[in-house]
Subunit: 302 residues, 4 copies
């Protein structure tokens, strides 16, 4: 089928390649003319025949909003827009309304797979009306991995990004679990070769997974991860997951711990731990100017 694709960054460009390789016609648009197939968004829409389908693959938030807004004026009754970016599921509801007022269908689609997706396929979680999903199914089928899994129509508008958000929240927790185990193995001298231990876990264990495979690949490239700083960004979905848990009174201690660990990893110094140190100084005496008296109990006697 024919599809417009807005946003030809790393992800968008890879998806265009995969779609074309599967025989679909893709008209891509990007603000970067070197990669774009159309001069403007309007030009892109003009190259599609009705009913039109447009996949939006741009940064979540303001940029997605402005693309959706512009498309609402360019498309019409019976067309479908898919937001494949990392939008917050609550924003999808707004997108669906804006487009719905023009008779345009809307599907939110969470996409997983990263740089591996072009070759292996992307896992897709989408939300929207069944009648809209069916129109774009050939595109979903081309993008998803071979095999019986990797695609779900999770529910109404918002359900796709909500599922993807939870997926990423789980991902935070999984990564933190491997990371904590890694640190403990590195912290002692009991195990000779930590990389070998992780390597061995790739078969026959309960904890085998794709993330484990990736961690082993990283450890093999860089023993002890000496070249990497312990600094981890977070892209939003982890925060949203914990916020959704709070909204729904769901206890989420492990995923929240993973999120907080990322926050802490980016701090030069911790104001909270300054406060701890300050209180300890106050009740424990002049701990910053230690008294050298010979025999005495630990200063945290309090």
């Amino acid at each position: 089928m024919e599809i417009g694709l807005v946003g030809l960054g790393k992800m968008g460009a890879n998806m265009r390649e995969r779609l074309r390789a599967k025989g679909h016609t893709v008209v891509g648009y990007d603000t970067n003319p070197e990669v774009s197939d159309a001069d403007t968004l309007a030009d892109m829409v003009g190259q599609l025949s009705a009913p039109r389908a447009v996949w939006v693959m741009v940064p979540a938030g303001d940029i997605t909003r402005s693309v959706i807004d512009e498309l609402s004026g360019l498309l019409g009754e019976g067309d479908v827009v898919i937001d494949g970016g990392n939008s917050r599921w609550t924003d999808d509801v707004t997108s669906g309304k804006i487009l719905g007022e023009h008779g345009i269908g809307f599907i939110d689609c969470g996409v997983s797979g990263g740089v591996w997706g072009r070759t292996n396929g992307y896992a897709l979680m989408c939300g929207g009306r069944a009648e809209d999903v069916v129109k774009v199914q050939p595109v979903f089928d081309a993008l998803k991995p071979e095999g019986e899994f990797g695609f779900v129509h999770a529910g109404k508008v918002g359900a796709g990004h909500f599922s993807k958000m939870v997926h990423n929240g789980i991902e935070y927790g999984l990564m933190q679990a491997y990371a904590e185990g890694y640190e403990l193995l590195e912290a002692t001298d009991i195990v000779d070769n930590v990389t070998d231990v992780f390597q061995s876990w790739r078969e026959g264990t309960v904890i085998r997974s794709w993330l484990l495979d990736l961690l082993v690949a990283a450890l093999e490239q860089d023993t002890g991860l000496a070249s990497i700083k312990g600094y981890a960004d977070d892209s939003g979905e982890g925060r949203w997951t914990v916020e959704a848990a709070i909204d729904n009174a769901v206890p989420m201690p492990a995923i929240a711990a993973a999120l907080f660990a990322r926050f802490a990893s980016r701090q030069d110094d911790s104001p909270a731990m300054k406060a701890i140190a300050a209180m300890r100084n106050q009740f424990g005496g002049h701990a910053v100017h230690p008294d050298a008296t010979a025999v005495r109990p630990d200063t945290e006697a309090p």
Copy 2:
């Protein structure tokens, strides 16, 4: 090769089958005569030719200790004992010493794979001297999964169970991450079919894993897990992992959260939350006898 196998419970019996299927001679001993190949431990040892190898597969703690003690009197110079149970790595050091005084080699071997191991092979993490490991390598090769992974000689005595302990700690964290995501999906009505969403994640996603496959299998058998109580035992390794983290000043918030969640799952009521409720009552007024006055702020005004 020839090997003695002490303990023919579910795990031990499966391992005997797998070893025999691979052409090894196994003399099994169990206190249950119906499954045992020998009348006594001494009888089992007597059926082996030197240098002898004995695999111990009995419950960790006192039972393992008494089997090791008895074997120290039955075996001799050049023989090797492997503890394949769930012993704490610190106990391995003791076992190694007891056997070493009689010239008997000792290998601690953490075993993963559960009921799937007989068919798929067991992941093995062992610790001990290289000269002892080499003697038993054929047995390790028979037990481990096909493929290049699933076996590691992690280091000195204790390194095997230490690695297995960390493996299980990671497992706690991974399971908790999936479980928290599951609960959030179930807590809202945004997603129509939670099982379908988990199912879809099995390909193309960052969070695909064997544990995910197992959770999907459980969800398919029992939608909403209606027949299962939210009650989770813990077998020791999770506790030991967090204790080892504490000993080594390693922050381990996610795995600890997973452990604490299991503790809480087994409580009829929470003494801690009684104390919280009691304090709230004290400062917030007679919260247990709510005042029905029409317009008033929330009772937690404090």
Copy 3:
């Protein structure tokens, strides 16, 4: 001075008493005619002389919003409204705008002190313009405790409820700390009388506090807290505190743990722990139909 007081629930009625006892003139309004000094909000405003001050003490959210809206039509240039309820600080910004369009000043005021406030005074944290705060200072002085502390003009509109929100977040963490310690003391038989231990901590220790006094009072009334269920509500501020932490990338593990513990305390069963139990069943064999074979390692061998 003269002040209107909207909302005569437990908190509002107590505040009216304290203000009158300090010589101020209070015109109270409540939907309950039995406690109200005025027939309508307009009647209440009519009884005040300009420049008027009105203290709003009603439930946060929709009710506060509608009272503020109505007051914006009844008051005028130079008047001041104080929101003393538990509003979210982000709502204060809206309240300030609505009133500001009519030349009416706005102060948000977090109030702590609960049922003890009428006698001991209320701790007040307010936000707004200095020129508005000065107009109401006599009322703040009457409500606050004796002594040099208990009142702060924390900053612009919103700063009062933000400070109160953080106060409550800290409160969650403090209560959780005492509660966890309490549970540990109760869990062992090492200590003969847990109440006596808590009692002794009230002087000379690092952990002496008003909350400790309250917990001791509760323990003295009800040894072992036998009559109290371990069920703890949360009133919103704890959630908002953790959400504000997430918005600002502040690690907040202990307060979040306290919040999650309250969520868990209200669950009949835990969906997350069902998922854990389900996964353990899948890899550990028929754990719900335990095999009785004599000698075998723990079923979590995996």
Copy 4:
């Protein structure tokens, strides 16, 4: 009464002063001759009349053990030894046995109060036989604060240090709660003066406490705690508390979070967060060499 006091460090010297000021006869011994009242431990014992009481106030662990061992040879039937240091409660059981074999009574006594104790008195939590406690009661009465609280005979040998251990665990949690609140207030520009807000909380609030007073004192001396590094030691009791919780299957998420935060505060870099960063690099592409393509979704698309 007469008492020997072993260990004249900061704590021991202060206690000697307080005891003498209350009219007791103290024979102090320290390896530092400048502060010692006796040349040797034997000399100190020789200066006491039977039945003798000796208070040991030296670092927990090996030093305490060796002092107890030596005293077991110097004292006899009817004498009493008090361990006032920070011993682990499990070590008390050993101390009690060693001394008991010589008919010497043993009391373990947790001491709180720090540098403030000399003036305000020390909170004391002791464990041992009632007949031993009564012999030393005059010393306890002199050391404890004025007022009805500050002393408890918590139970058998070990109960004193166990109570003190839990006290310190609670202290970890309380400090962490204040610290997290402090960091959140500092992280935004909503509040003008964080010190003023904390100052105001000292009266009328639910969170007023001695620790709050101390934190305010620190903030007044050093706005923003600019001169203090966010580095916090831990003295052992926090670790033991969490370990005791694990042993007793008690969920302890907030206190554990406080402990882990201290561990993290002392790390130059976090191996766990290196692992997180490494995994993110693996699935998110060359995150360390960011692609500059114009329009693209966040790199954590996976």
